[in-house]
């Protein structure tokens, strides 16, 4: 279903970190497509390889020890893994830009907020310093902060305002793709809602594609059109919001939903997923989730599961579905 609004296509991306203690297999072959004005939620526990995937798209993985082993990341027709350092610098901030988790440390304390926004503009458009500074003020207004605070320093901003400033920086040059790496985790709930709403409005206005990295299913439900669930460096389930929320297929996704408190049924006991994330330096053979999967059988423990398309939009990677009658406990809504 290639159409003209496909912006990024990631195929079979493998990223390893080679350290003294052994090779950390952070990303083990994932495929992801991002389309204009569409937002995808990348969900999973910490250490699943979400951030590594994002950094790979910007080629910001620290080269010793990180290595992109395999795979292709196609951005408007070209594989950015072959791009030179110079070309990548042009792409970052112009075509793809990124927001980070902790606003308190994401802004440079010794430069004013205006300067940091203006810098992004000047890098990609040859405008004078003054002009860029004016644009920076407009951007601040756009994210809900009064322009004349542009010459203040980050320590004079609250957490929420800093995140807004960071968003302003990211959207300074109207990038085609915005990656948001847990943008609201460090904020309290009320600010969280405002920031998410801001991101949504800006997505609409600039027709940008959004990759929302989070472990909070509530955020995904509110913002994303599609969902991809990652576990131990692989996408185990991918589909539209309805596919994954209402027609959950993969046992791990079910585990995620079970560990959420159920507002309606206060007395219900939480059912957290037993065990720990597998050690990325020696992943179990077969399906990585098998040690913790209640439905795991011998096939799961010996063979790598194969991705299986349930519908045109819904994919799951679980050998249990070899047996057509298999279904997980979570009933379809």
């Amino acid at each position: 279903m290639k159409d003209n609004d496909l912006i990024i296509n990631i195929e079979n991306l493998i990223v390893h970190y080679e350290t003294e203690e052994g090779t950390v297999r952070a990303v083990n072959g994932i495929d992801l497509k991002m389309k204009k004005k569409r937002s995808i939620g990348l969900v999973g526990e910490t250490g699943a390889g979400k951030t590594t995937t994002a950094l790979a798209m910007l080629r910001l993985i620290p080269d010793p020890p990180g290595v992109i082993k395999n795979g292709v990341i196609v951005l408007n027709g070209e594989n950015i893994l072959d791009k030179s350092v110079k070309e990548m610098e042009n792409i970052r901030g112009k075509d793809i830009s990124m927001i980070f988790q902790d606003p308190m440390t994401a802004l440079n304390p010794v430069f004013t907020v205006g300067e940091q926004i203006a810098e992004s503009i000047m890098l990609h458009e040859d405008v004078s310093k003054k002009e860029a500074y004016e644009r920076a003020k407009e951007l601040l207004e756009m994210v809900g902060i009064s322009g004349n605070r542009a010459n203040e320093y980050p320590h004079q901003f609250s957490g929420g305002m800093r995140q807004r400033a960071i968003i302003a920086i990211a959207l300074a040059c109207q990038p085609k793709v915005l990656i948001a790496d847990e943008p609201t985790t460090a904020l309290d709930v009320t600010i969280q809602a405002q920031v998410l709403e801001l991101i949504n409005d800006l997505m609409e206005k600039h027709e940008t594609a959004l990759l929302m990295i989070t472990h909070d299913l509530g955020v995904v439900a509110e913002v994303c059109d599609e969902v991809a669930v990652m576990y131990a460096g692989r996408i185990v389930e991918k589909g539209s919001l309805e596919d994954v929320f209402n027609r959950t297929k993969h046992p791990y996704t079910e585990g995620l939903f079970n560990s959420l408190p159920n507002i309606k049924d206060r007395k219900a006991k939480l059912k957290p997923i037993p065990g720990l994330m597998p050690d990325p330096t020696n992943l179990p053979i077969g399906c990585a989730f098998s040690p913790r999967c209640p439905y795991a059988n011998d096939i799961c423990r010996e063979q790598k599961p194969v991705p299986r398309w349930i519908s045109s939009t819904h994919m799951v990677e679980c050998s249990a579905y070899d047996d057509p009658s298999f279904h997980i406990a979570r009933r379809e809504k």
Binding site: E20, P274, G275, L276, D279, P291
Partner: protein
């Protein structure tokens, strides 16, 4: 239900690995990663070993201080690999034998400044208030007096022998030690486990020396290794001013300063002692850096 015990077995193995990693082993593992530090350690141990062997192999009377006029100022040759000085004495033997002077001056001087400065710093850091002010202000005063002046005055006042030299070099860097010790104590002092100890009724002295001192050993240790290097240099500068270890002792600093008016035609006379000082101080400083990286948690990758 084999699934659950599979999980417990791997976690047990993991935790056993971590118990072995006591703090010292952890420091050693990081220290080993630093190339320069390992190099420094090997060079220093070679020097220490030679200075010990030299003590037995070389005879002080005949080979180190006897003046042999016909063999004066001979260039490096097979007979004298490092050449001979203006008194006709073999420079290689003197350097090997002299290593004990420079090393002992460096180490003892630093012990002196550690003892005085370190303790003052810890007291200042922990006590706070007026005591801290008095100690730190007097350190400022001492620091403003050029180290060399301090050393010169003490050496001239009490006569120039090796022990006085070591003490005066040590005293000169007391302020620096006090500052480092105080800073280290300040960071440790506000941790919870100090409150806990105080809550448990431990006396001030007990807290200071059993809880605080071991934890701020890291920066103090690093400062010590750094200072050994500069102590050797200060001792050689004192020899340059004629106040160093009295002749005929083959201390590298005095060999350097005695040879300086021969530097143009017989540069080997200053070059080899100079190189000896450079390599020793370099090795010590590299170890110091390695230690600092290994001990400072923030700097670990």
């Amino acid at each position: 239900m084999d699934k659950t015990n599979v999980v417990t077995k791997s976690s047990v193995a993991a935790s056993r690995k971590y118990k072995k990693n006591s703090q010292l082993y952890e420091i050693w593992r990081n220290f080993r990663k630093n190339k320069g530090a390992v190099l420094g350690l090997t060079v220093l141990s070679i020097i220490i070993i030679t200075s010990i062997i030299a003590n037995f192999v070389i005879d002080y009377e005949t080979q180190i201080i006897r003046q042999v006029v016909p063999e004066r100022l001979q260039r490096p040759s097979w007979k004298h690999p490092f050449g001979t000085d203006q008194y006709g004495r073999d420079i290689l033997l003197r350097i090997l034998y002299g290593s004990r002077y420079s090393l002992s001056v460096g180490i003892v001087a630093v012990m002196v400044s550690l003892a005085i400065g370190g303790v003052m710093g810890v007291i200042a850091g922990y006590m706070g208030g007026i005591i801290e002010n008095i100690i730190m202000r007097s350190c400022d005063v001492f620091a403003s007096i050029p180290a060399l002046l301090l050393a010169i005055c003490i050496t001239t006042a009490f006569g120039a022998n090796t022990l006085i030299l070591m003490i005066s070099v040590g005293v000169a860097s007391v302020p620096a030690f006090a500052r480092v010790a105080r800073a280290a104590v300040m960071t440790v002092r506000d941790n919870e486990y100090i409150e806990a100890a105080r809550a448990a009724g431990a006396t001030r002295m007990r807290i200071m020396f059993t809880h605080i001192l071991p934890n701020c050993m890291a920066p103090i240790m690093v400062q010590t290794t750094m200072r050994v290097g500069s102590a050797i240099i200060t001792a050689s500068s004192l020899s340059f001013l004629g106040l160093g270890v009295p002749p005929p002792a083959p201390e590298w600093g005095s060999m350097l300063s005695e040879g300086r008016s021969f530097i143009r035609d017989y540069s080997y006379m200053t070059m080899f002692p100079g190189l000896a000082i450079v390599i020793t101080v370099l090795a010590i400083n590299l170890i110091g850096d390695g230690l600092r990286d290994a001990m400072d948690p923030k700097l670990k990758r």
